[in-house]
Amino acid sequence: MLKKITQTLGAGAFALGALASALHAAETVKVGVLHSLSGTMAISETSLRDVLLFTFDEINAKGGVLGKKIEPVVVDGASNWPLFAEKAKQLLEQDKTAVTFGCWTSVSRKSVLPVYEQNNGLLFYPVQYEGEELSKNIFYTAEAVGQQATPGVDYLLNELGKKKFYLLGSDYVYPRTTNLVLKEYLASKKIPAANIKEVYTPFGHTDYQQIVAEIKQFAASGDACVVSTLNGDTNVPFFRELANAGIKSEDCPVMSFSVSEDEFRGLPTKDLVGHLGAWSYFMSLDTPANTAFKKNFFAWLEKSTVPGIEKKGRVTNSPMVLSYVGVYLWKAAVEKAGSFEVDKVRAALESGVVFDGPGGKATMQKNHHMTKNVYIGETLADGQFKILKSYEGVYGEPFLKGTFK
């Protein structure tokens, strides 16, 4: 009721202003950026804001979307999950953004999900996650478990001939769900339960003595490996302890799913050399699309006037590229639909738009996930990955729990 009155007021009393804004709106389309720019997640999420702003500028320079320039509305989720929901509401109801790119942690996504469903909004989510979710209002450019964990384990099984798996993770939903799927997957590959060990540590855990001692005995037979879903800076004490115990990557490699090039900026890479990673993009990918992407992004950073943006020592990583791919997929879908309307854009996206991105060809599927390439890489001393194997065109399936039984 109140809303209606304000709307009437707005239309009546401020006719001139409304007219001006309508004219303005004809030239631009508002797009939301919802990431934590402060708090614990800021370190990771700020990079995504940067790459999104770069992508918008890149698209605007080439004429925008359907002739309209993208006008970013950047809000700060502040690593505070309820605040994410409030900011999402603001983007949808107040700013009327056509689409939002955002969220990093699963809990932030879960907290905005009802807001997007209620307002029939559109959200692109770019970070590896545990699956088991499918909202008609969210498009997941992220790696599902089957696009990171199972190819990673395939590599360990088939290429390295490993037979014993130590599943180590931080204690929250992503590692637990991933490991649940992995255990079923390993069982389907005839790995006996006795050869699988599952261990969790709290966030910010620093004392890995016990776990490393256990890994050392676990790996005494020479055919063991560690599959790590440890998140953030707990990796530092873990890898340091591992190096001190003399466990080498050739004897017992660690396959990490949460350590990308961006995280290496704060890790002593020396201790991680030779250990493995699995992502759908590596900065070291040697393709023309990736070379151009890196060149343009770094050139943009150099000139950028965004306050407080970090210009030195920047890298690109998978969540950044998946954000970039998300924007282009949305653009392609809007152009296909000929409209910014959420329902039409969704239908276009579901029909399978394609974008040839820095990580290779990405195709949106009917189930809101993407078919994309998956790469296995090995850490080098300079914090980059050397690509060992690529799995092309891996289908994105969010519901893996129980499928390997």
Partner: protein
């Protein structure tokens, strides 16, 4: 050092051999430049190759220190880099793998010099490095270094290939080092487990049980689990031997784990103790609920970071002197944290001695302000601290692993506790501190300058926090939020040890550390921690004053 030595040996050997270019060197060179898909096979084919250049070349390749040198229009030459005699610029000469001689400029005939950055190291992949390792293992059986021999032999044993048996037995006949001999015996026994003769197999089982081999236990268990009619199943005599062997090995390892847990508990307890010791003084003795204690540790950690950078800038990050930055960082960390503590005491706490709850709020505010300051000065991301060489790696005694940094922390904690005891009980300042803490008014009446004593005591406690921060920088992360991770632990130790008693903190931290490490393998890190907290709650219900309650008017 080892690298220089191996290059030197290579030089010697190459000089001896360079006169006769032989087929084996050609095979080695061919493997280096083989196409990517055939390279693994080509390297594996080098097993047993008798060539002096084999080991140094492959070792360098595996470590990404083998370079392809292009001269003029000729095809690239694989070469190792070696220091140029009498050259001070750090330029290196390239010794070609083919003849061990320096690569020369084709135009002038002068040896070329390089910096490692100018050259591209020859690539390796994990499968390739494994192939290199396998070749080096066979070569390593005759290596001059006992450590290399031992490691190579252990791996050959684990590979369980009968074709390695003659090589190992031949080595056993001439081996003199006892450690290598025992490794050889294990490896031979491992391979002999598949011997056709039953006596040999039984002997091998006994040998492996005596050597407490975990890999053997896993193998034995597989064999025991086989159904009686399966191929490769053990005969009844053998089965009994296998079962005894498994039991011997498992008993040994449960003892190892017990002592290992004790050590790990001691080390975890020492970390807790270092964290809590400063607080035992500022909160325990002075009664100030200092929420900024964690940030004082961070000051120490960042001080270490700064000293590290200064050393790296002054001496170079790879130099010998750099390794001692940590020793220099300890006093700096103490001083920096003590200074910040002094400022906090003068600026905030001195007005709040009689109002503990306000001091809680005020110091919490100080802690937030300090965190933001760290962010502004050092950035929001963690900073990298490189452990000095002498704190990396570890040693093993009776199969229990001792990491050097953990040993250091234990030793350092003992020293610090001793130092605190000395200061409190054997110095005039300590006497004054104890007097003021027992009864501030009375001390003041008899002429003790209580404000000065308060100031110095708080600075001392803060300095101890700085030392803890310096130590933690060697174990975990250094970032603006690091203090928050440890503040709860610090209060937990001081409260359960008994407020007002430094000895209580020592006992409590060791108790908590050992309990935590004993529970962890059974319950996991998360449950272990919860259970420890729960136990502390119950303990404080039973003894509210902590382990060693102190009766003091200043605390009532």
């Amino acid at each position: 050092m080892l690298r220089t030595l191996s290059i030197f040996l290579f030089l010697l050997a190459a000089a001896a051999l360079s006169a006769a270019p032989d087929a084996s060197r050609a095979r080695l060179l061919a493997a280096l430049v083989a196409p990517a898909d055939q390279q693994v096979a080509a390297v594996r084919a080098l097993v047993g190759l008798e060539d002096a250049a084999l080991v140094p070349t492959l070792t360098a390749w595996r470590a990404a220190e083998l370079y392809l040198v292009t001269t003029g229009t000729a095809s690239p030459v694989p070469a190792l880099l070696a220091p140029l005699p009498g050259d001070a610029d750090g330029r290196l000469q390239a010794l070609a793998v083919a003849d061990g001689l320096p690569v020369k400029d084709p135009a002038t005939g002068q040896p070329l010099t390089f910096a490692p950055k100018e050259l591209k190291a020859l690539d390796t992949t994990a499968p390739l490095r494994r192939a290199i390792r396998d070749v080096l293992e066979v070569a390593g059986v005759a290596d001059p270094s006992p450590a290399v021999r031992r490691e190579s032999i252990e791996r050959l044993g684990q590979s369980r290939k009968a074709d390695h048996l003659p090589l190992l037995q031949a080595r056993l006949a001439i081996e003199f080092s006892p450690a290598v001999r025992s490794a050889l015996q294990d490896a031979i026994a491992f391979i002999q487990l598949a011997d056709p003769a039953v006596e040999v197999r039984l002997q091998a089982i006994t040998d492996l049980a005596a050597a407490h081999s975990l890999a053997a236990a896993a193998r034995f268990k597989e064999q025991i689990a086989l159904p009686a009619d399966a191929p490769g199943a053990a005969s009844p005599v053998e089965l009994a031997a296998l079962k005894t062997a498994v039991k011997t090995i498992e008993d040994h390892w449960s003892r190892v784990n017990f002592f290992g847990n004790l050590f790990r508990g001691l080390s975890a307890g020492s970390v807790l103790l270092l964290i809590a010791l400063g607080l035992a003084i500022t909160f325990g003795l002075m009664g100030v609920i200092n929420m900024a204690h964690g940030e004082l540790m961070v000051v120490g950690a960042y001080a270490t970071f700064v000293v590290q950078n200064l050393f790296a800038a002054a001496f170079g990050p790879g130099s010998l002197a750099f390794n001692f930055y940590f020793l220099a960082a300890l006093p700096v960390a103490f001083a920096a944290a003590a200074l910040v503590g002094l400022v906090i005491e003068r600026g905030v706490i001195q007005f709040l001695y009689k109002r503990p709850l306000e001091s809680l709020l005020a110091t919490w505010g100080v802690s937030l302000a300090l965190q933001q300051t760290f962010r502004l000065v050092f950035g929001p991301a963690n900073v990298q601290i490189n452990a000095p060489a002498w704190l990396q790696g570890g040693t093993a005694l009776y199969d229990v692993a001792f990491a050097y940094n953990r040993l250091f922390v234990i030793g350092f904690a003992v020293l610090v506790v001793f130092g605190v005891w000395l200061v409190l009980n054997r110095t005039p300042l300590g006497l004054l501190v104890r007097a003021v803490m027992q009864n501030r008014q009375m001390a003041s009446c008899i002429g003790v300058k209580t404000t000065r004593v308060n100031m110095l005591t708080f600075a001392f406690g803060s300095g101890l926090a700085g030392l803890a921060g310096a130590c933690l920088s060697q174990l975990g992360n250094v970032g603006p939020g690091m203090g928050q991770l440890h503040i709860i632990d610090a209060f937990m130790v001081v409260v359960s040890g008994g407020v007002g008693n430094v000895l209580g903190s020592v006992a409590a931290s060791l108790g908590i550390g050992v309990t935590d490490q004993l529970l962890q393998p059974v319950l996991g890190a998360v449950m272990g921690k919860i259970l420890v907290l729960f136990a502390i709650i119950l303990f404080l219900q039973w003894r509210p004053g902590g382990l060693f309650p102190t009766r003091s008017r200043s605390l009532d």
